[in-house]
Point group: C2
Amino acid sequence: MRLVLAAGSTETARIEGLSAAGADPEAMAYTPSADAEVLAYGDVVRAPSVPVSPTGTPTPAIVTRAAQEVVGFDVTVVDAGLAEPTGAPTVSVGARPGEDVREADPVPTAPGAFLAARGVGRSLPDDHLVLAETIPGGTTTALGVLRALGEDAAVSSSLPTNPIERKREVVSEGLAASGLEAGDCENDPREATRRMGDPVLATLAGVATGALAAGKRVTLAGGTQQLAVAALARHDGATGPLDVATTSYVADDDAVAFRETARRLDCEPTVTDPQFDRAHVGFGGYVDGEAKEGVGMGGALALANATGDLGAVRDRAGELYDRLVGDATAGGES
Amino acid sequence: MRLVLAAGSTETARIEGLSAAGADPEAMAYTPSADAEVLAYGDVVRAPSVPVSPTGTPTPAIVTRAAQEVVGFDVTVVDAGLAEPTGAPTVSVGARPGEDVREADPVPTAPGAFLAARGVGRSLPDDHLVLAETIPGGTTTALGVLRALGEDAAVSSSLPTNPIERKREVVSEGLAASGLEAGDCENDPREATRRMGDPVLATLAGVATGALAAGKRVTLAGGTQQLAVAALARHDGATGPLDVATTSYVADDDAVAFRETARRLDCEPTVTDPQFDRAHVGFGGYVDGEAKEGVGMGGALALANATGDLGAVRDRAGELYDRLVGDATAGGES
C-alpha cells in the first residue's frame, strides 16, 4: 500500500473567507509544501512552519504522518502545482499552480498533468494506492468541477461554518468567465479541471484512472474534494471499484450528504471517527468543526482502524503536535 | 539514518569509452532516472529499463535497494541535474544537467545547487546521512574537480580497464577551456564543480557540508567520486568527521589508493567485500571488475555488514535481479 499525496495550489484560495488552511493568506501559500514535508519527514524542512488554521488548529498532515509512523505504509508526494518550494521529494507531472477559478482558463496544465499522472498511477508498483490532497481553496474548485461535470453535489469546508453561498457565487462567476454552463464538461474531466478546477484534482483523477486501468485497488482519502475526483474518474469512463474514506467530521455534515453522493458515484464510503476530544489542546478545534479532513487523514485513520491502531495513532499525533506546534520554537529553528 | 541519492547527468558521459553506466549512449542518458526509480520503488516506473552495462552487468542500484529492503533505512532522491524524467520523487536544488567538462563553463547551476543542497543537508531530520550518487561519466568529472582543487588523487572506473589516460586528456582539455591550471580552485569548491565538475558533486558537497555544520554524522557512500566530495567539503572548510564507505572492488585497485587518499582527506575509510561470485549470473560482472560501485552500494553493504545482513542482502539482490533484469519482459511492460 502506498499513500500518494498530490500537493498543489490555486489562487482561488486568496478569495477572502474561503479557506482556513493556514494562519493567514501568506502562510496559506506554504501549506501544501509544508504538509508534504510533515508527511515525508515528520517535520518541516524548507517550509517556514507547520500549518495551522487562524485559530491554531493544526494541519491534518500531523495525523496522517502519525498513522504512517504507526502503521508503516509508503508515501509518495506528487508536485501538483506547488507555489512555494518544498524540501519533500516530489514526482513531477508538469502541473503548475492554478489561477483563480473566476478566470477563463485558470489551469492550462491540467490536461497534461492528468495524462502524466495517469502514467504514474498505472506504473507505481503497488497493488493498492491511497490518494490524498493538500490544496487551500480546494473545496471551492471541487464545487467548480462538480458543477462543470453536471453533478449535483455539495462540498465541505475547513471552516466551522461553511461559506457555501460564497463558494457558489465564485463558481458561478467562474462558469461565466469560462463561457460554460453547468454540465458543459460532462464526460470531459480534463476540460472540467482546466476550466473550473485545480491542478490537484487533475493529478488525482489521472492517478486514479491510471491505477484502475492497471487493476489496482484505489482508495480516495478525503472529503468532498475526493468526491470530485471520483466524479472525474467516472466521467473519464473508469468503471473499476473506488473506495472513498473520510472522517466523521465531513460525513456528519448533513448538507454534504457524503455517503449518498459517494454511492451515486459508485464509490464505497468509509467513515472513521478520530475520537478526538478537547483533552488534547491540539485537536480541540477538530471537535468544533475546524479542518475536518485533508492530507488523506480519513484514509489514514481508516487504515489505522483496520489494524487496531487508532488509539496509538491518536497518541502519536498528540506527541507530534507537542513537538511540532506546541513548542513555539519548533519548526523554524534549523 | 537516511540515504540521500544525488541523481544527475553530465554531457561528459558522451565522450566515447569513458563510462559503462548504460547499455549504450542512449540508454545511459536514462541511467540516473532509472536508478532513482529502482531505489525508490524496487522497479522502474517511468524509465524504459533497469540499467545494465554493455555486457549486461546490472546497476548497483539493485544492491542498494536490496539493502534498503532488508535493513529498512529511509531514502531521499535529490534531482542533481537529471536529463530525463523520473517517476521517483525528487527534492529540487535547482541543478541542471552538466555540459561537457571540456567547455568553459559546463555547470553554471553548481554554486546555486551547492547552497540549496547545503540547506537540505542541514535541515533533514536525521542524525546520520549516507550520501550516494548516480551519474554516468562521474569519475571523469571527479578527476576534474580533484585537479581543479589541486588534490593529487586518481579515480576509478565502471569499466574493467580504467581509461585513465583518456580521462586525464579530457580533464586537461577542460582546464584549458576554463582558463585554469591545476589547483586554481583551491578552497573554492563551488568554482571547482562549476568549471571542472558536475551537478552531482556540487549537490553532494552541499548536503555534506550542511549536515556537518548541523552536527550530523555523514557517510560518503561510494568510490572515487565520493573522495572528490570529501575534498570539496574539506576545501569548503568543513572539519567535522567524514566516513567514506566503498566496495572492495574500488579499494583493491592499487592505482586508486583509496584508503590512503581517504585518510589524507581526513576521512575514515570503510571497505566492504560484497562476496559476489560467478554462481549468480547477474553479479559475475562485478567479480570481473565491472561497475564496481555506485548508487551508494559500498555504504549500503557496510550497513548490511554492521547489522549482520550481508548474506540476506546478497540473496535479495539476486531475487531483484531475476525479477527486474533476468526476465526480459520486465520493466517495459507496464
